[in-house]
Symmetry: C2
Subunit: 491 residues, 2 copies
């Protein structure tokens, strides 16, 4: 079927298996994994993607876990309009400037003064207009709200599934506080929540840090970020938390009466995390056979494949069903389909990243055992049925730990500490992340970007790591260093 | 703060309580309940609304329950783009014609041939384009997919919170089958799911029926609907399920190879339910004090209010906390706040529709009891603490049954069977729903609408109720009747 866009890349469902190695051409490998594992597809609209059920299940896992966190943190979900009047954007000057190039506009045919509406690229302005109406007194604070929604950033031309597209799904939290201290504390707390999602759910090790002035959110005084390094040497920003101070409160007339009856400007933060997290998962854990799903997010943690011999078919299938019942808590697929061979099924579940495959054949049944194969290592265990449930639980837990450790080891190995710019350039060329002292000057940072295409990713949150050694010089300009930071090319 | 739209209606948070009776001016009463119970607010954009946390919690209750049904029904969640190329709309002629007036357009600045993109008013076309790529063989069927998303219908000018707005949230299911019989069976099954949401979760009695040709979905051969009658005598469509037959399959080149290798056109259905359901809940159950939440959807089923006397304050608060622990499964609010009086709290939880209020005062503590007050009836029970948990569970269950029964009784009383058009007109003028025989002619139905502003709501799904008596004549034109149908003015 003819496509306006992306037809070159369309998944050919008849061609099973990834045809290129991850190290050989990571963009092509990545695209094949997303398409063939049926995580996503290209849409017939430039820059857009379709999230298929497996991709959506991973997003749902994030939503579920994060909603649990939100409840613990007394953040309430709400929903604000998709459309934002143009006049709202201009109220906070830096914000307006920052988002201008990204916005898609709808012209309201009926509106006499011809105001245009932006399709939300982020919702600070539309939400804070309501906040201005709702917040009256200290009793209304803290106000903590979150919304799950779609976001449009129109400037994207060339879609990278999950990583970069005109439309994506995200959550955006927006809180208002009576004091700067409370605001600052919780800005960091939500960053910690993102770390939990990345590390504890997705098994992706991340750096926690502060963005430089150049890289911070338009309208924030400080932007905190979690970043990870992908196997192609590019950094990926996976969640940000912004201390907005009082800029938006001023622009949107948000104030509250304190206990003494005085009108006071409140402090605000905002924080977001998107479907991009799924791209990070594919890049971090995937291998030449396809997707590898960390156990805690895998919708099916186990695929049970009966090894069918025609003369014992009914018995083998019945046994596979029994094993399925035994492993019910892991939401197993019990694949008793006749129209596919066992070999086809093995490839299918490897491609789709199911953490464990359990084989049940005639010999296994005789021996009252099953064969358990790990997706990440290929390690095969012959496990007595009466120990199977516990074995699967243990291996899944171990697999999370191992996936994290493997990624951590790679990232550590790919992060180089350098003290001179020649080494800096060489490291970036070799697709490494660089840890180096910097003067903190905007011009110097821009100059580094122009020379190497690397941007500052973050100043480590950990104070010891951020603090330059006594007398340390900027890796680029040689002036006295202000902080240590991570630099890399980025998605 | 100045608003472009809706400022007249903005909630004044300092004015507690509904200032008008439900029967006196239902639109004004409805708006006050939505605003003052903080379900929703008007947005600063014409025709749009903000869904506040309490409103969103009701939507989340629907999402959670419906996702459970979807899992039982093997329907998978996915996400398709917000934007639809203009050319897609023209492919299915009836569909294009039907949705034309409702669409908001974005002009793609970069696209050379200047194609416009619709902001989805429904997603048949964008989804079925992908289906055409994905479906190859009988093995791929049935394909059952759903998405939760925002929908834009731009023609709305005057927002009615939840009931009618430019943007709303919904789910849309889209399935593909190898046979017409399977398609038909499941089209009705999803209608039954909507009945479950309305009746079993929201305690709103509904009619199940078939839309007439005039009222069906643009592109369907048959549209099934659940409808309820609101207390103002207007019918509300609350969910629809469409048998699309093969029209879209033809238009979007969806075909599959059957087991004999022949290329066959599949059958399709689509079905949707939206945040409108929340409007139905407010209208059906609300009273002069505000919102009444059916227990199964109430985020907090109980509000515990300690009756504080200064000299025993610590003891009373401690006791209220204990009662809170006892009733933990009902997610209680334990309102120990000092800055509000008990009376203020009573009003607050009545306004917000919390199903049960539990009072804990010094005398109750002495008697080892609590006072339980039902939101709907005001009935007060003095309940020994050792029976409290069970009592609350029982009363909540009873409250669901009672709310349903009260609504059912009203709807039955407001539904009149008529056989002549004078009685028809009189009943509609008196804000009733009419059950009458009809000839089935489109012109005749249009004529009724022009004369009375009533539309045919549905032909009952129940065959006996739908079948006209032998020799029955059309209530309007006197020609032989084809079926019995319900007529009413509608939202």
């Amino acid at each position: 079927m003819a496509q306006k866009d992306g037809s070159r890349k369309d998944a050919d469902q008849d061609t099973k298996g990834i045809t290129i190695k991850k190290v050989e051409d990571m963009p092509e490998w990545y695209s094949q994994v997303c398409l063939k594992a049926q995580l996503a597809d290209y849409a017939p609209i430039k820059g857009c993607m379709v999230i298929r059920p497996l991709g959506y299940a991973l997003w749902q896992a994030i939503v579920n876990q994060f909603n649990t966190y939100l409840q613990e943190d007394s953040v309430q979900n709400a929903y604000f309009p998709l459309f934002i009047p143009e006049s709202f954007f201009s109220r906070e000057a830096e914000h307006a400037e920052g988002f201008k190039p990204e916005v898609a506009w709808v012209q309201n045919k009926d509106d006499k003064d011809g105001e245009r509406f932006a399709i939300r690229p982020t919702s600070e302005t539309i939400m804070y207009d309501s906040y201005g109406k709702w917040i009256r007194s200290w009793r209304d604070l803290p106000l903590r709200m979150n919304q799950w929604c779609n976001i449009v950033r129109w400037e994207v031309q060339d879609v990278k599934l999950f990583l970069r597209s005109r439309e994506f799904l995200w959550q955006e939290g927006h809180c208002v506080y009576a004091t700067a201290a409370e605001c600052h504390k919780e800005t960091l707390h939500y960053l910690e929540r993102y770390r939990q999602i990345a590390e504890d759910l997705f098994a992706i090790p991340v750096l926690l840090g502060l963005k430089t002035e150049r890289e911070k959110f338009a309208g924030a005084i400080r932007t905190y970020t979690i970043e990870s390094l992908m196997p192609d040497g590019k950094a990926l920003q996976m969640g940000t938390s912004h201390d907005l101070s009082q800029g938006f409160a001023k622009a949107f007339d948000i104030s509250f009466q304190d206990k003494d009856g005085k009108s006071v400007l409140p402090w605000q933060n905002s924080w977001g995390m998107s479907t991009r997290m799924i791209g990070a998962l594919v890049l971090t854990h995937g291998d030449d056979k396809g997707l590898v799903l960390p156990p805690r997010v895998a919708p099916h943690k186990v695929a049970i494949v009966p090894i069918i011999f025609e003369d014992k078919k009914a018995m083998i299938i019945a046994e596979a069903e029994k094993v399925g019942a035994l492993l019910k808590e892991f939401n197993p697929i019990v694949d008793t389909r006749d129209e596919y061979t066992s070999g086809w099924k093995f490839n299918e579940y490897e491609l789709k990243g199911v953490p464990l495959r359990v084989e049940v054949g005639p010999k296994d049944i005789e021996k009252r055992q099953a064969v358990v194969i790990r997706r990440d290592t290929g390690k095969k265990d012959f496990v007595p049925l009466d120990r199977l449930r516990q074995h699967v639980a243990d291996v899944l837990e171990q697999m999370h730990t191992d996936l994290y450790a493997v990624a951590k080891k790679r990232i550590d190995a790919d992060t180089l500490t350098v003290t001179d710019f020649k080494a800096f350039e060489k490291a970036i060329e070799a697709r490494k992340m660089v840890y180096a002292a910097h003067c903190g000057e905007d011009d110097c940072e821009l100059c580094i970007k122009e020379k190497t295409a690397a941007t500052s990713r973050c100043i480590p949150l950990d104070e010891k790591t951020a603090k330059p050694k006594t007398g340390a010089k900027c890796v680029h300009c040689g002036k006295p260093a202000k902080y240590n930071a991570y630099f890399a090319r980025a998605y």
